[in-house]
């Protein structure tokens, strides 16, 4: 079992908060309040999640995992859909996409015997996949709006040549998916060289041999890669149609110069 950090040691963390707070006062950065507040909030959130996970881990795996996945996906949905405000049904679509992607990767993990269906393994791994998909979907949505704005001339030209909205959107979907994938591609290039990835760090701290820890890390890194690309592609495919009306006209064309 991994060694525990004692309560006394934890109390000393106040020092870690006091340092940036005093710096903030010294240079009148005005950040004192928000540093204190966000630290406190973070601590409370983590303690809460600690207790919740302890509770969930005690439940039968199917129940615990279902509850936690549902909560994580819901929160990720709300977060990602902020970037897509004004697109109808964006929440429902994003929820279904993240759910689908999570179920797909989960069945692959289990099917290929990479992890077992226990709360301890499924919940943390899923959290990473869901979190990364959330970020990718947010990026894709943002990029989608800007591509439809900046690439408007091209899309309208495609329509005028007889393209259906789907065919006209194809010319920008590539760019959107690419934009959403780039952070992960870049991340994989330096993985382990600059910063040990969080999960691997955790396993090593927990006493797992590095050579075993990297196996988990490889699985999760590549899983994230898969999920991120699929999420970005699906969100674009699911939502491009809302930029057009039923007469295959670009909706923006009337309202925006």
């Amino acid at each position: 079992m991994a060694p525990t950090i004692s309560n006394t040691s934890m109390l000393f963390l106040i020092v870690f908060v006091l340092i940036p707070v005093s710096l903030s006062y010294m240079y009148s950065l005005g950040l004192g309040k928000s540093i204190t507040w966000s630290s406190l909030r973070g601590v409370i959130q983590l303690f809460l999640i600690g207790y919740i996970l302890t509770y969930l881990f005690a439940l039968p795996p199917l129940t615990g995992i279902s509850i936690m996945l549902l909560v994580m996906i819901t929160i990720a949905t709300f977060h990602a859909s902020k970037k897509g405000e004004g697109i109808p049904k964006v929440r429902l679509m994003i929820f279904l996409i993240i759910l689908g992607v999570e179920l797909m990767i989960l069945s692959m993990w289990i099917g290929f015997g990479m992890i077992s269906f226990t709360s301890e393994q499924v919940i943390p791994m899923s959290g990473m996949v869901i979190g990364n998909s959330m970020v990718a979907i947010g990026l894709a949505l943002e990029r989608m709006k800007s591509e439809f704005r900046e690439g408007k001339g091209k899309i309208v030209a495609a329509l005028s040549l007889g393209a259906k909205p789907q065919q006209a959107s194809k010319i920008i979907i590539r760019k959107i998916v690419k934009a959403a994938m780039i952070p992960n591609v870049d991340g994989l290039k330096t993985v382990g060289l600059v910063q040990l990835p969080g999960m691997m760090t955790g396993l090593i701290l927990g006493g797992v041999a590095p050579i075993d820890a990297i196996r988990y890390q490889i699985v999760i890194s590549l899983s994230i890669f898969t999920c991120v690309s699929i999420s970005a592609m699906l969100v674009t495919i699911a939502l491009y149609r809302y930029f057009f009306n039923k007469n295959m006209q670009l909706i923006d064309i009337k309202s925006e110069a």
Partner: protein, 233 residues
């Protein structure tokens, strides 16, 4: 209905143009002129249904424009745009876009299309990003030609060209109208161009048509104060 007037616009209003009526015929070039912001581009987009009127009717061969399947309609009434709207990729990628949608692209079409707009054949495989403004404009026109539409909506397609190339494109347009019996509506800022090649002129200002008629009449003896002023500038 006069059989040659294939497009008939009656009292059309949108958020940008007001109560507009005019007709377009096959075999004729109609120049649309007027100050910037007059609504010339907006007028063109109504005819291939990139936008729709809020009020009024547009007829094509005597039937409401809205009764035609929209994709076919856009292939028959082609448009070339004012600002560069080329797709990323090579010149050939752009030219084959329209025909490929219906499986009609032939490799041999590329050089023919380029010849029409006076670009060398080896431009086919160039990246459009590296073309000059005038070259891009001609590729855009060739891309519209590739669909072989019956009616052309051309939005300032010669504005970035040198005099000699303008002449070539003008010849092409006249040939399209007079020999191939196409209908052409072209927005231009160049009055001399309108005089040289158009049969009819529509003069717009502030979203309305102030004058329209035969080119010789309209540009020779302008009736409204606004057109007189516009021609002097």
């Amino acid at each position: 209905m006069n059989e040659t007037n294939v497009i008939k616009v009656e009292n059309v209003t949108t958020d940008r143009i007001f109560n507009i009526s005019f007709e377009l015929s096959l075999g004729e070039i109609t120049a649309v002129i007027g100050p910037s912001g007059a609504g010339k581009s907006s007028l063109l987009t109504l005819l291939n249904r990139l936008t729709d009127p809020q009020k009024g009717d547009i007829f094509y061969y005597g039937k409401q424009l809205t009764t035609y399947p929209i994709i076919d309609l856009r292939r028959r009434i082609g448009m070339a745009f004012q600002s560069s709207s080329l797709f990323d990729g090579t010149v050939e990628d752009n030219l084959k876009f329209g025909p490929s949608l219906v499986g009609k692209w032939k490799k041999a079409n590329g050089p023919l299309l380029l010849e029409k707009v006076q670009l060398p054949k080896d431009y086919l495989y160039r990246d459009v990003e590296h073309l000059s403004g005038g070259e891009q404009q001609r590729v855009a026109l060739a891309r519209t030609l590739a669909n072989d539409p019956e009616i052309f909506l051309l939005d300032e397609v010669t504005s970035a060209l040198d005099l000699q190339t303008v002449e070539t494109i003008e010849k092409l347009l006249v040939q399209l109208a007079k020999e191939e019996n196409k209908g052409i509506a072209m927005v231009t800022h160049n009055i001399e161009q309108a005089k040289r090649i158009s049969d009819k002129v529509i003069f717009m200002e502030n979203g309305t048509i102030l004058e329209q008629g035969k080119t010789v009449d309209l540009l020779g003896t302008p009736q409204t104060e606004q057109l007189q002023k516009f021609l002097k500038e």
